[in-house]
Symmetry: C2
Subunit: 208 residues, 2 copies
DNA sequence: GGACAAATACAAAGTACTGGGTATTTGGCA
DNA sequence: TGCCAAATACCCAGTACTTTGTATTTGTCC
């Protein structure tokens, strides 16, 4: 059973999320609070696995609540729910040790999925992935800036990292194997990779 | 110039380390302190790149000093100097955000090398690597337990991760390329890797 | 001295990747 | 409408890896 707590001052939104979460048979929504202080009081007494924490709240905002959770070493994982996809806000939260960062207009299925990932300690925290929650274009633009890779090249690099052969990638993307080979050549050239190890290391370093 | 500070209450040891560091033309030892408080005072006033921090000190021990450095967000990288190679001590420090963890009886060349790596932000923090600083057997045993790999297999996996071909690995280890191929076969079977990409990813994820 | 794992080495056949190109089509933008 | 990047596709020759084995030697341990 995944024991969840929600802290968000937008009542309608919070109830909406809580109702969504209650539909999962293995989720237990222990409480919905509209400020950080109440949420903290709950966490001090109850065993909870995950708190979904809005950033903007009265009495004690999300960041302050997060810091308090961390400084008291409360054994709860923190998922930030945020309106903002700005990198500096993300990085502030990341620095404080969050487990995940979810945009408020992300897909409900994605929310559920990320909660499970966090519970199982296999969620990968990365800004690009946050961007991708609602804006695939922003996701790809982020890599474009970093590596000068096109959208297709990024897709292919991810599959290379996952251990797929050129034939498998061609099948999966409905392309010719020759196309995949040319993309790989171009990716190698852009990244300056001399071999597969270089490609995979770069992909992992970027949390692709 | 790498600006260094040393905090260690064993005077002779500290002077020994400081003298070693002063031999490097690009190292500047700004101060040697025998307790955490003095070191902190220094760091508040001076720009330093790296502090070498002993764990056991009077007035303020290493962990407390480390936490203070982090909570005040002092812009200095922390290298722990420790007598202990126990994993829980390592993990406590890792959690607080250290850049490196060096055993006190590690090789002097290794100390110098790690300082440079830290300064250039390319040191990889991992418990296995700490073990290897003085006890290669412990290093290999650690992977043996995790992956059931023999010493030679680990060596070869590391070189695969570095992008070397079978021929290059054979040359480097003074082996026949056939031997390397057989070892690879065995590594693949033990790890459950389907291909080179899988091998590289596992090696990277384990900080090999 | 025997058992056993590790290490070493060999080899054929097949699959996969790389490096060197070339070429055409498509989509976006000024 | 033209330009340009992205995307697609093709191809040859070469290198590298994988799969399927087999075999011997060495070192450690009981």
């Amino acid at each position: 059973m995944i024991r969840l707590v929600l802290a968000d001052d937008h009542t309608l939104f919070a109830e909406g999320v809580a109702n969504l979460l209650r539909k999962e048979s293995d989720f237990e929504v222990q409480g919905v609070f509209n400020n950080g202080l109440s949420a903290l009081r709950h966490l001090e007494k109850m065993q909870s696995d995950i708190i979904l924490l809005d950033l903007n709240m009265p009495d004690m905002d999300g960041i302050a609540t997060l810091k308090e959770i961390k400084s008291r070493r409360l054994p709860v994982k923190v998922i930030i729910l945020s309106m903002y996809d700005e990198e500096n806000i993300f990085k502030s939260c990341e620095k404080e040790g969050i487990s995940a960062y979810i945009l408020k207009d992300a897909d409900p299925d994605e929310l559920i999925y990320i909660i499970r990932e966090v519970f199982e300690d296999r969620h990968l925290l990365s800004y690009q992935r946050v961007l991708k929650q609602v804006d695939e274009d922003a996701f790809y633009d982020s890599y474009k800036k970093k590596l000068k890779l096109s959208r297709r090249e990024i897709e292919i690099l991810k599959l290379i990292k996952d251990g797929k052969t050129n034939n498998e990638i061609a099948e999966e993307l409905f392309l010719s194997v020759f196309t995949v080979e040319t993309h790989r050549k171009n990716i190698n050239a852009k990244i300056g990779a001399k071999n597969l190890a270089d490609l995979i290391r770069v992909a992992l370093e970027l949390n692709l």
